[in-house]
Amino acid sequence: MRRLENGAAHEIPHHFATPRQAYESGKLGMWIFLATEVLLFGGLFAAYAVYRGNHPEIFIYAHRFLDSRLGALNTLILITSSLTMAWAVRSAQLGNRRLLTLLLALTLLGGCAFLGVKVVEYEHKWKHGLLWGKRYRPHPAETAQEHPSAAEVLREAPLGDRTNIPPAAIGPSGLAFSADETRAGHADAEEPRNVQLFFGVYFAMTGLHGLHVVAGLLVIGWVFVRLRGGAYGPSNFEAVDRAGLYWHLVDLIWIFLFPLLYLIH
């Protein structure tokens, strides 16, 4: 291990020539890692695009079961926690330990609050059987009562006509309904077919995002624990900086998830 010329307590690994090289390597590595995270979610965004493109009626119908007020609240919470995180990085750079401690604690609190709201939302879905794939067992009467808006959608337009997959006689077979089926099946339908697809996509996206929030909290928590040893200062704030980058990514993904899932027209 080699010490810096100025005698700071901070050491750089032996295979780097200068602290600057070490810092920039770490930063580049972190950004590349974030790129891999974007692509991990990219698969789910692609699945979302495919299913929404083919079956807009499912998404228009099913998104009414999500509570956009809770979604908005969570968006607010995460954006605020991103602010406190960015501020924390700044205070680490300036060497303000007390402020850094406070801001990291606030960020942790924000992450926990987000997860708390998410638990409330998941519990609601669970209670009403609004789950993914083969677990989708809605209780129509109750949900109609609680979600009059979803019933309204049904009254406004017959949903069967809105699917973008042409009837089997015209388009490729597979997901498509035959022309008769479409008319007969949806004249007095209560809901479009395959609503469980929406909840599959919803739980996959928010679930994976939730796991990333947990991972982010663990990382920030680790940074927080090391605070007591006086680990950070103006010449050594990389860990705070990297944790911050990760947290902003988690935040950013939610900023895309919220409108895509909650605010559909």
């Binding site: 295979h15 390597s25 590595g29 995270e37 692509l39 083969k134 490729p172 996959a204 994976l208």
Partner: protein
């Protein structure tokens, strides 16, 4: 030269015992551990291949029943792809050579590097456990809906592949950062050895494509465990979407395999032709071009899956375009050899095999990329032969070439040149016998993955199986030769082949820290200034020899 000091401290003698290896941060030891693990899985995958070929000697049952056969060909594919050929050259030789080629002490993140190896081990354990729990019988592609309904242990195998993906991503991150930030003085991008250009392009694919495989396999696992329905047609999901996701990774992944092999080729061809590489920039940039194009061709795996005609045409055209940078490389290698003084040492024999076999593999890829012929050839042995010509005739051959090229550097011992050449010759003959017959039977309609077949295909199958046995013998000779060299081999000089890249400037095997001071990097293909020195049995810079 400096033999006594090299023996006193090299990376092999630096620390003893299991822990000093398994928890080492030294990129060279990690590279060697990768090499040993990867070679083990090559042998395991080869063992499954022998079972397949033996079963196919006769129509109907030969040594196993149909269900076992399905499991065996799946294991052959999965082990070879995920445990041998994807990590293959980058993880074993890349890890060992990349920092030394840069004159650096280590990769940028040694801990991440070790973590990548440990993840490889964990992923391998999951894959092997799946064999014990009821080996997967879906084919290595895990296509839905069969993979979500079969009773074999798909979850364990895909979880293994998921973890191996992380291992691959971490290697990629490490290589990109190391090449960006740790080049020595004098090494501009245009003086980067071509092997590193290839590893860099590979790393781009590793970091951008692997996460998509990750989410695909995660969704498959969730599908099996919870029934999320995203790929299940009964629940409104789309199984073809799985194929799109899978090939969005797995087509670029074949370039994760072949690009490092091409990098090895550029080194071997130049060194053993004793000539500066021809068209350095063309080769370097064509690596990057392949990396970019590799992301745009995945749809050619779904020409017969009900993709739209327009989509098919676009993917077909893009598939043809990959041939351009590949051909640029091949012609530049040929131009490098032209009027060179070619030495037929073992690594060069593998390089020459690569040129021929990869040429055949690449050109038959065009047959499959053409829409009309693909409908006929789809899912026949023609496809099997095509990808074995590229993956085995290309990547495995280059892997063996790399192994014989860097072996003296890694272990400080020379192997028997005679046995090495014999093995190379046997590999070449056995390989062609095995797979050329498959081109013929495939074009006549023998479907891939079938347990049974009509009698008129039997002579081709017998030829193919004989070829596989020749390959097995070749591997025994090859492994015996290399292992023998470890104990009885002549001590290797620092630079046995007369290469100008930096790894040959330090002792064989390299000291723990590679270089005390970062060396000054020159042109990595300026071979003129290296001359053979009888007294050390290797090459040395011209000035040093005249001085002595």
């Amino acid at each position: 030269m400096n033999g006594s000091t090299a023996v006193a401290d090299n990376y092999l003698s630096h620390g003893r015992g299991f822990r000093s290896w398994f928890f080492t941060l030294d990129h060279k030891r990690i590279g060697v551990m990768y090499l040993a693990s990867i070679f083990f899985f090559l042998i395991l995958g080869g063992f499954f291949a022998m079972l397949i070929r033996t079963e196919l000697l006769t129509p109907g049952r030969t040594i196993m029943d149909a269900d076992t056969y399905n499991q065996v060909f799946t294991l052959h594919g999965a082990v070879m792809i995920f445990l041998f050929i994807i990590p293959g050259i980058p993880a074993a030789f890349g890890n060992f050579v990349l920092p030394v080629m840069l004159g650096a002490k280590d990769v940028a993140f040694p801990r991440l590097n070790l973590l990548s190896y440990h993840l490889y081990v964990v992923g391998a354990i999951f894959s092997v456990v799946s064999i014990l729990l009821g080996a997967v019988d879906t084919g290595w592609t895990f296509y839905t809906p069969y993979s979500t309904t079969t009773h074999t242990s798909v979850v364990s195998m895909t979880l293994g592949a998921f973890i191996l993906g992380f291992s691959s991503i971490f290697t990629g991150i490490n290589f990109i950062v190391t090449i960006h930030r740790m080049r020595p003085p004098g090494m501009s991008w245009n003086r980067l050895p071509l092997f590193l250009w290839a590893l860099y392009s590979t790393a781009i694919i590793q970091i951008l494509a692997t996460p998509v495989l990750g989410i695909t396999l995660l969704l498959l696992i969730v599908e099996r465990l919870l029934g999320i329905g995203i790929f299940d047609p009964a629940l409104g999901g789309d199984p073809v979407l799985y194929q799109h996701f899978f090939w969005f990774y797995s087509h670029p992944a074949v370039y994760i395999m072949i690009l490092p092999a091409m990098g090895v080729m550029s080194e071997l061809i130049s060194v053993f032709s004793r000539k500066h590489i021809f068209g350095y920039k063309a080769i370097a940039y064509s690596s990057v071009a392949i990396a970019v194009l590799s992301f745009l061709v995945w749809g050619h795996h779904m020409f017969t899956s009900g993709q739209s005609d327009l989509g098919n045409m676009i993917f077909s055209a893009l598939t043809f375009s990959v041939a351009i940078p590949s051909a640029i490389k091949v012609f530049n290698w040929l131009a490098t050899m032209y009027k060179g003084s070619i030495r037929l040492d073992t690594p060069m024999l593998y390089a020459l095999s690569f040129l021929l076999l990869f040429g055949i593999g690449g050109l038959t890829g065009l047959f499959l990329g053409a829409l009309a012929t693909d409908v006929h050839l789809h899912d026949t042995y023609f496809v099997v032969a095509h990808f074995h010509y590229t993956m085995m005739g290309g990547v495995l051959i280059a892997f063996l070439g790399a192994m014989h090229y860097w072996w003296p550097k890694m272990f400080g011992r020379m192997y028997s040149e005679k046995a090495g050449r014999l093995a190379a010759f046997l590999v070449f003959v056995g390989f062609n016998l095995t797979f050329f017959s498959q081109f013929v039977m495939g074009s006549q309609g023998m479907p891939r993955r079938y347990y049974n077949y009509v009698d008129r295909f039997q002579s081709y199958h017998v030829l193919s199986t004989i070829g596989a046995y020749v390959l097995a013998i070749a591997f025994v000779v090859l492994a015996g030769n290399l292992i023998h060299s470890l104990f009885r081999g002549r001590k290797a000089p620092a630079n046995p082949w007369g290469s100008a890249t930096l790894e040959w400037m330090c002792a064989s095997p390299p000291p723990h820290d590679n270089f005390a001071e970062p060396p000054e990097a020159g042109d990595p293909y300026d071979l003129e200034h290296l001359v053979y020195d009888e007294s050390i049995g290797g090459y040395a810079p011209r000035t040093a020899r005249e001085g002595a």
